[in-house]
């Protein structure tokens, strides 16, 4: 039984190995492979076939999400948000080939090791809040919805690891501007309503609550920066809608 399954896998569309690449993550929807492509460090995101899904639905969803992801990655750049460069979008192999971001850590790891359960980190919290708040604001200002905003889907480069580094005098060696890179636009879409943006914020809030419940000030601060940097006309609607969505969640009537 075990063997039969392994063979079936191999002959199917799913790839467990890509020559010259090593698997770095096996997610719920895709596998990530790291290697070199066209002479540059690259990441391959391959969406595997979901056998539980009707094949037509699976094909359609994969194609839509691949398109949505690639489109959003490019639009995000134009909005002034750093994202990986695209090397190839391949519907036949259900893959996106993109730039591998070197020397970066996920925001989740950054918070876990530099902020959680640490003292005197108000400044670092503000740093994170500004980075994230402004990035999301820039996306929303161009009607881009990320769809899965979590701290695992954000990378940080050139970051301070202590209060001193953040506030201390900035010289050549000590200039931690910070760069945030948004990744995994797998559920992203462009063209959106105030409600879509509100839900995007709500998803972020929920993700922060579940992953970083020990840093409760993070989301409120982010929201402040979001409002500061958001230039879209529907900003007030978005905030009002967000409160509505949040209230709906907390007070939803749940019958049987």
């Amino acid at each position: 039984m075990h063997q039969v399954r392994a063979i079936a896998r191999h002959s199917g569309q799913d790839t467990m190995e890509i020559k010259g690449f090593e698997i770095v993550k096996q997610g719920a929807e895709a596998r990530l492979f790291k290697g070199t492509y066209l002479g540059r460090p690259a990441l391959i995101k391959e969406r595997f076939v979901k056998k539980y899904r009707h094949p037509d639905l699976d094909t359609l969803l994969t194609k839509d999400r691949t398109k949505g992801e690639a489109r959003a990655i490019v639009r995000a750049k134009a909005a002034g948000v750093k994202t990986p460069a695209l090397f190839l979008v391949d519907f036949d192999r259900r893959r996106i080939y993109m730039e591998y971001i070197n020397d970066a850590i996920t925001l989740k790891d950054y918070i876990d090791s530099n902020i959680s359960d640490k003292e005197n980190v108000g400044c670092l919290i503000s740093f994170i809040a500004e980075q994230v708040g402004s990035a999301v604001a820039r996306l929303h200002s161009r009607n881009i919805i990320h769809g899965d905003l979590t701290t695992s889907n954000m990378l940080l480069k050139n970051y301070p690891v202590s209060q001193r580094e953040r506030t201390g005098e900035k010289d050549e060696k000590n200039n931690f501007e910070g760069e945030i890179i948004l990744i995994d636009f797998g559920l992203a879409h462009v063209e959106s309503t105030a409600e879509d943006k509100a839900v995007d914020l709500y998803v972020l809030e929920r993700a922060l609550l579940s992953a970083h419940s020990e840093v409760p000030s993070l989301f409120p601060e982010m929201l402040q920066f979001y409002q500061k940097f958001c230039t879209s006309k529907d900003k007030r609607d978005v905030i009002a809608k967000y409160k509505e969505v949040q209230a709906r969640g907390r007070k939803r009537l749940m019958i049987g």
Binding site: L38, R71, V74, L88
Partner: protein, 179 residues
């Protein structure tokens, strides 16, 4: 560096080798030979290339599409020019990135397997009357402001990405996004 060879997608088994020529005198003749199929290579305006990676990405998409039987244009070489353009119009794309009779600075791209570069390159390169120079001199030739205009790259984008990364990312999404 006289030329540059890069392996394209592993599954295609293809490579691309690129050459840079300046002061080319017989562009009209080259163009005719390309159209007749006598010359088996891709020739483009060097001024619109910001980095060879731009050509490599276009060529890679072409060989991958060829493998899956999905070429939009007639040959792999016209497909490279088409892939470089953000337009979905084939003629416009070929006119934009391909050479016209007055062009002086050109990039020649040859697609080959792992071992037959020399033979394939020989005929093509012999047909070009011009000065073959180091690839490194491309940056003197690139017309950055025209590139930015063609690919609609604005300053906010360049704060978070290099020009070539903006360009290739847009090229790769042209089939399903409008710019």
């Amino acid at each position: 560096m006289e030329s540059c060879t890069v392996q394209l997608d592993e599954d295609t088994g293809k490579f691309i080798t690129l050459y840079l020529f300046i002061n080319v005198e017989n562009t009209e003749e080259i163009r005719k030979k390309l159209i007749s199929g006598e010359l088996q290579c891709c020739v483009m305006k060097a001024g619109l290339v910001v980095d060879l990676f731009q050509v490599i990405v276009a060529a890679n998409k072409a060989v991958v599409n060829e493998k899956f039987g999905k070429l939009t244009t007639r040959t792999i070489f016209t497909e490279i020019l088409f892939n470089m353009s953000l337009s979905k119009n084939i003629t416009q794309s070929l006119v934009k990135f391909g050479i016209d009779d007055k062009e002086k600075n050109i990039i020649v791209g040859i697609i080959h397997g792992s071992d037959n570069t020399e033979a394939m390159a020989k005929d093509s390169l012999a047909a070009i009357k011009g000065e073959r120079v180091s690839i490194g001199r491309l940056k003197e030739i690139t017309d950055t402001s025209v590139v930015k205009k063609i690919y609609k790259v604005d300053e906010s984008e360049l704060k978070v990405s290099s020009l070539v990364d903006c360009v290739v990312s847009k090229m790769n999404t042209k089939d399903f996004a409008s710019y």
